[in-house]
């Protein structure tokens, strides 16, 4: 019996057809994500990390191997998975409240119940008071909060985040990382998988960092992050882990011998 929110990727292979040629995009991907875990996937552009996420979302179909959510093969999108895209993708013609409630519209909960759920999620992301505002009036960070609320409203088992903070400025991004951690802690049963470019973000938020390499996309290394939370970005262990990941991309600083005389 697998527990709710378990993701199992077994021998996944994905190819794209470009002008009659088959190009492998993902090969030999094996990943196990435990319920409630926060996993980051990091890798250079074109390593197939977005394709991997889209496969888990169900927006890309036809793959070899297995992608199992709670032991069941993923076949197309479903409400058991919430999605936050890099561009918030809030519908510009709906107010924040309506956008967040989008996933509840099909459910026969009754208006009062749905409204309460929406309110609770607006509170979770700190957007109370912005119910009647249109997305065009929100800042980038606020729009992304609304998008997170929208993705959580159906109580998904899995929250899939595709570079959710990538489009934000550096300060807003750090602030949103704190917020995202809080949300993850409060929604304890939700498993989160995030694509990111940002090594520090990955170390700050994740239980596990998956490093990918490209052409074809494979998992190079999985690094567990066992630092206690809340994490201190300036601590020695944090820096060391960051360095270790950067080393995988050959981006670490050259170590220069220094002499103290």
């Amino acid at each position: 019996m697998t527990q709710r929110g378990t993701l199992d990727i077994v021998n996944l292979k994905k190819t794209f057809n470009v002008n009659g040629n088959t190009t492998p995009v993902l090969e030999n991907i094996n990943l196990k994500v435990k319920p409630g875990e926060f996993v980051s996937i990091i890798g250079p552009s074109g390593c197939g990390k977005t394709t991997l996420l889209r496969l888990v979302i169900g927006l890309e179909n036809s793959y070899e191997g297995q992608i199992l959510l709670d032991g069941k093969r993923i076949n197309g999108p479903g409400l058991d998975r919430g999605v936050v895209f890099q561009d918030h993708r809030l519908l510009p013609w709906l107010t924040v409240e309506r956008n967040v409630g989008l996933g509840l519209e099909g459910k026969r909960n009754g208006k009062g119940v749905n409204k309460e759920i929406v309110q609770a999620h607006l509170k979770l992301v700190g957007l109370q008071g912005f119910e009647k505002v249109y997305p065009a009036q929100l800042s980038g960070g606020m729009a992304q909060r609304a998008a997170i609320a929208r993705a959580l409203v159906n109580q998904p088992e899995l929250l899939l985040l595709d570079e959710p903070l990538g489009a934000l400025d550096a300060l807003t991004r750090m602030y949103m990382q704190l917020e995202l951690e809080k949300i993850w802690q409060r929604e304890a049963q939700v498993t989160m998988i995030m694509i990111t470019h940002d090594v520090e973000e990955a170390v700050y938020l994740s239980d596990k960092v998956v490093i990918m390499s490209s052409r074809p996309g494979t998992i190079k290394k999985i690094i567990p992050v066992e630092l206690p939370r809340p994490r201190d970005r300036a601590s020695y262990d944090f820096m060391k882990l960051k360095e270790e990941i950067l080393e995988e991309f050959h981006l670490h600083a050259e170590k220069v011998f220094s002499y103290a005389i």
């Binding site: 927006l59 409400l79 993708r89 013609w93």
Partner: protein, 255 residues
């Protein structure tokens, strides 16, 4: 500061007022015969007379009623065809080429056909007007329905939206700006065509008829008045639609 802004808003009146002055100077000096260019004060006096007689209101009512019916029929048909072609490639493939071919025939080109089939009836005029409203509405609705970005379609898929909800929540709202523009253009078109309809399909009553009769009797002042009224009403309709559009599309602006 605010006063300056208010004054600047009235810039649009400068050229018409200048033209009015030129008109007045020409007639005052008798440079043109009053038969061709009646002086402004004569036009105003005739207008007052027409208003007092009251028939002009009946004429206006006649024209506006015809426009309203033809316009509503035209935009309804245009909305249905535009949406159908926008949503279904099969329907687009079936009707698109025919629509685009027929569209090339100027509306005036349909006059003989309409007269021969329907005669000089009210129905003929309404069909004529409806046809004019139909084309821009169809095109705008069709374009609008095709405007939904792939990214939003993915959001709909993630939330497992079915076709009706996809249409209601995603496709129609994203097409709405385009549809409203279609309504505005169709309205202008319908209003212009009612004058044509009343002239070509011999009408009794209507602002176009009033104009044509005045031409027959060489009453240039009445011709002027009808032109001014037609222009003014067209302007007001267009302006009102613009205001309505801004109201309904508040979500597009960021302030």
């Amino acid at each position: 500061m605010d006063v300056k802004k208010e004054v600047l808003k009235l810039r649009g009146l400068a050229v018409p007022l200048a033209l009015l002055a030129v008109w007045w100077i020409i007639t005052k000096n008798g440079w043109l015969s009053a038969v061709f260019l009646p002086p402004p004060e004569t036009v105003v006096a005739t207008f007052v007379k027409l208003v007092l007689k009251g028939k002009i209101f009946a004429d206006l009512n006649e024209s506006i009623t015809k426009v309203a019916i033809g316009f509503l029929a035209g935009i309804t048909a245009g909305f249905v065809l535009g949406t159908a072609m926008g949503l279904s490639t099969t329907i687009e493939k079936l009707f698109g080429p025919l629509f685009n071919a027929v569209r090339q025939v100027p509306i005036l080109g349909w006059i003989p056909v309409l007269i021969l089939i329907f005669g000089l009836t009210e129905l003929t005029k309404i069909i004529f007007i409806a046809l004019g409203a139909f084309y821009p509405m169809t095109l705008n609705t069709f374009d609008g329905c095709r405007q939904l970005k792939k990214e939003y379609l993915e959001v709909a898929r993630v939330f497992e939206f079915n076709r009706p909800r996809l249409l209601w929540r995603f496709i129609l709202p994203s097409a709405f700006p385009s549809i409203l523009a279609g309504i505005r253009v169709s309205m202008s078109e319908a209003w212009m065509l009612v004058i044509g309809a009343e002239i070509f399909f011999k009408s009794r009553g209507g602002i176009g008829d009033l104009m044509w009769e005045a031409k027959t009797r060489v009453q240039m002042d009445i011709v002027f008045i009808t032109i001014l009224i037609i222009g003014l009403i067209g302007f007001i309709l267009n302006y009102a639609m613009k205001i309505l559009e801004n109201r309904l599309l508040r979500w597009r602006s960021s302030n």
